[in-house]
């Protein structure tokens, strides 16, 4: 698989690791201006480690749903032209605001991803990539509701956490339902489980239909 410009495997303490170029954020190892991208702490990082193609290119415009304290959003912002980072919890938003202080491309938004109209006046249309990691009930519904921001040739890179939908149901069944729902708005290109990095998470790459 070809990694996009700005994302590379680099050596840290004798170990080849996925990396982007930027200020460190969460105590990750750095070398020569590059910072290791920890796949155990980032589902998008794990998608690259598993050989998926989330579609992110250097200079892209990205909407990131569920940015939390910016662990992954900061790596995306190292590569992208602009990252609209939506997070609805106040506590992690404080850290995300600090991360935005070191990255001009990061635009933090304290908003609910289930209500896209509440940021439709800020987030631009025809984006290249929609990354979604909201880890809450209705993950597929959120991806569908935010389809409006994506260009027709844009990409959705989403993760579905089984336990966030239903704590007891068989993850396979939960994933099937989520994919069915996604197919209302997207054509699914690729799916992979993120084990061993993240248990019971299904990663999905899709394009708008």
């Amino acid at each position: 698989m070809d990694l996009p410009e700005g994302i590379e495997y680099r050596e840290f303490d004798g170990e080849e690791r996925l990396a982007t170029r930027g200020e460190p954020v969460y105590g990750e190892p750095t070398a020569e201006g590059w910072r290791a991208w920890d796949a155990r702490r980032s589902k998008l990082g794990a998608m690259y480690e598993r050989g998926m193609e989330p579609g992110l290119q250097n200079g892209d415009r990205v909407l990131y749903l569920g940015a939390a304290n910016g662990t992954t959003a900061s790596h995306v912002a190292d590569v992208a032209r602009v990252v609209y980072a939506v997070e609805f919890a106040a506590r992690p938003m404080r850290d995300l605001v600090d991360v935005a202080g070191t990255r001009d491309a990061l635009v933090p938004l304290l908003k609910d991803a289930r209500k896209p109209a509440s940021y439709g006046h800020v987030v631009e249309a025809d984006l290249d990539v929609l990354v979604q990691d909201v880890a809450t009930r209705g993950q597929a519904r959120v991806a569908c509701a935010n389809r409006r921001f994506l260009a027709d040739d844009g990409r959705l890179a989403a993760v579905v956490k089984a336990r966030s939908e239903d704590t007891v149901r068989d993850p396979e069944a939960v994933f099937e339902d989520a994919l069915d729902h996604l197919r209302n708005e997207y054509r699914v290109l690729e799916t992979k489980r993120l084990d061993p990095f993240h248990a019971d998470h299904l990663a999905v790459v899709a394009e708008p239909r």
Partner: protein, 280 residues
């Protein structure tokens, strides 16, 4: 209507921030291009730079406000914690009395209830005592869970006040004042006496000496100071707590220097060389 967050405004207008927070549009548009067209910014680079700064400021203030609103939740939790504690103790007393009437080696308190709750009862009366003991234990468990909740919630609600007072006392002060905003507006001499209202009224009626401290008595700075200097210690502590509450309410950032200032001041009061009643 579909309008960008910048429509009709200049980049330095503070209303841009409110627009980011409160505005909406059902469908997105090519906002960077529209902003250039409108003359809001010169070019796309300029647009993204302005958006970055405005959105960051909007997110910062909105997050701070949201966390501050959590002071209401904290007040409910500390009151519930006091209720569960009182009820657990009352039930434990009832259990001790009842169990004592049936056996000479019955103990007392919630810990005795914990033992009893695990024993097998051999008759209907014993089963009632055992069950009642279980209720006292459950209430005590709930009290502990509420305490853990407060420990987690308080640092976000009032970081400096919590660092100085600890989560339980910080929550008590918020509860007595009626919220962070009113605590921030309370004078330091009132903070010193919060929770000592009964003693204060007794003093005003002429039936008691003037109280030197309210709930802040439980703080190490006061309790650990010799009785004749406790008044000074309480005044110094109340002064720092008041400053902490004001920073928490108006600024929100953490100022560790406050903790050191308090420690220095208390050490000074406790040292013998110091004049008895310095100003705080």
């Amino acid at each position: 209507m579909t309008e960008g967050w910048f429509a009709g405004l200049a980049p330095d207008d503070p209303a841009t921030r409110d627009r980011i927070r409160d505005g909406s549009a059902d469908e997105p548009a090519d906002w960077p291009a529209l902003a250039v067209e409108d003359g809001f910014v010169a070019d796309e680079d300029d647009y993204y730079a302005t958006l970055h700064d405005t959105a960051t400021e909007a997110a910062r203030t909105a997050a701070t406000e949201r966390e501050r609103a959590d002071d209401r939740q904290v007040i409910h939790a500390i009151r519930a914690m006091d209720d569960t504690e009182r009820m657990a103790n009352e039930l434990a007393e009832r259990v001790a009395e009842w169990a004592g009437s049936r056996s000479d080696d019955a103990g007392t308190g919630v810990e005795f209830c914990r033992e009893l709750a695990h024993e097998d009862a051999d008759d209907p009366t014993g089963e009632r005592v055992r069950s009642l003991a279980g209720r006292a234990v459950a209430l005590d468990d709930e009290r502990a869970a509420l305490e853990t909740f407060l420990e987690r919630a308080l640092p976000a609600v009032a970081p400096n006040l919590t660092a100085l007072a600890g989560p339980t006392l910080a929550a008590r002060l918020l509860s007595l004042a009626g919220g962070l905003k009113s605590l921030a507006r309370t004078s330091s001499s009132t903070v010193q006496l919060l929770g000592a209202e009964e003693a204060l009224f007794a003093h005003l009626r002429g039936t008691a000496p003037s109280p030197k401290h309210g709930v802040i008595y439980v703080h190490e700075s006061v309790r650990g100071t010799r009785p004749e200097k406790r008044g000074s210690a309480a005044r110094a502590l109340a002064g720092k707590l008041t400053i902490a509450a004001r920073i928490d309410h108006y600024a929100g950032d953490r100022r560790p220097a406050l903790d050191d200032e308090l420690a220095d001041r208390i050490a000074q009061i406790r040292s013998n060389t110091e004049a008895t009643d310095g100003s705080a």
